[in-house]
Subunit: 241 residues, 2 copies
Amino acid sequence: MPATSPAREKCRTCRLHSLCLPRELPQGDTSELARIVQTRRPMKRGTYVLQAGGHFQSIFAVRTGSVKTSTLLPSGDEHISGFHLPGEILGLDAIASRSHPSTSVTLETSHVCEIPFTELEHLSERIPALQRQLLRIMSRELSTEQSTTHLLARRSAEQRLAMVLLDFSQRFANRGLSARHFRLPMSRSDLANYLGLAPETMSRTFRRLEARGLLSIAGKAVVILDPIALAELVDGASGGS
Amino acid sequence: MPATSPAREKCRTCRLHSLCLPRELPQGDTSELARIVQTRRPMKRGTYVLQAGGHFQSIFAVRTGSVKTSTLLPSGDEHISGFHLPGEILGLDAIASRSHPSTSVTLETSHVCEIPFTELEHLSERIPALQRQLLRIMSRELSTEQSTTHLLARRSAEQRLAMVLLDFSQRFANRGLSARHFRLPMSRSDLANYLGLAPETMSRTFRRLEARGLLSIAGKAVVILDPIALAELVDGASGGS
DNA sequence: ACGCAATATTGACGAGGATCAAGGGAAAAG
DNA sequence: CTTTTCCCTTGATCCTCGTCAATATTGCGT
């Protein structure tokens, strides 16, 4: 069986090439990266990608499916800090402490690539473009995280929901999917948790936005009917009516 | 006057050495770093270190004083995303987009070091330890940002205040100052904004915690009287009485 | 296809915090 | 030292959202 060729191809032929680590890397360098990336069997829904407290060894890239990341608060309940779609990187928050501060679980059957961090660091010493891309990804992560913070500070349930829906709309669009029709991969209570709301409030807020004709929701299937009104809602403008 | 020696010394002799970029760098490499770092005249209270929308060119390190970072929401009001103490790095969230997503202003007379990013990147290609430290700092920033998110999600005014006070206590302690007596560098309304609360709620919450003997506050001067009870408050334990 | 369990909706109620409005005190300006 | 201004504090009221409880629905296993 061919030993090196398929391995060296796997990042280059990946659909997510331009969203993930290999972005803007020349072909030869992408092959070098691919050599250290470990692809694995698909993980079933509810499988741990990494666990809080566990020793940091690798970062992970979502290839297909979706992942949620959460931390268990001392009080016993969890707080979900994010959802990850294909092309996004997990585990970057563990570099400093050498141990994972949070836990990541698949929300559905998912493919995840493992990238051993020590090898990645060594590789990026030789490939400056890879180093730059790594910093870019972390920087982007930082801005994303800050937006999440804004999402939670002093915003109404409606605004929070509108924000997260537009965020998903954008992210699906970046992956070549529809910005208007999509399926939320997480449960209602997970979404509520992420937004800092009670599940009941989520439910009511969905119905209210639906009644105003801004969107339509059936189970996990969302249709964005009026993206402009949703955006105005987020901006705090009293746009409606 | 001596031309190179003082410049090459400035990071090595800086009190914040171990909190900042040079951490764990051998002396020679620290000198190389110091050569690209630009120290500047002290900035008066209210001076912009960097402005949202501005072209990204450098990252900044707080040397003395303190800085707040905020973004202006489309609705017109600002949201403060963080406060920065000596040794902390600003502007890392701009690497990806090449333009600053937020604005940073000094809260008091402050010294800030400017580190041109392109030069830092080149330097870190030659000095792997510097590259590692850069990644560590960004990773740490990422965890901090996540804690902030937890701070805001589903927590009462009391818990938020307790969290932020313990956070400052910790950070002051890391800088060799008292963990029990310190001076908050920002105004009440800035703190309230950061915590996603109305200033009035802040005020009342301070008084309530003071009445319970957990702390004492006079103007910006804080005394932590019962750090354990504060920590229990944060953890959601119904500790008191 | 059936039945059970987990998840989602809906309603009623109450609490925590925002808002509105006014008064007090500390820092800055003269 | 006095005056002004801004910020902080305090009080009263309203409203959003959390909580409790019951019902409906979906998804899962057999």
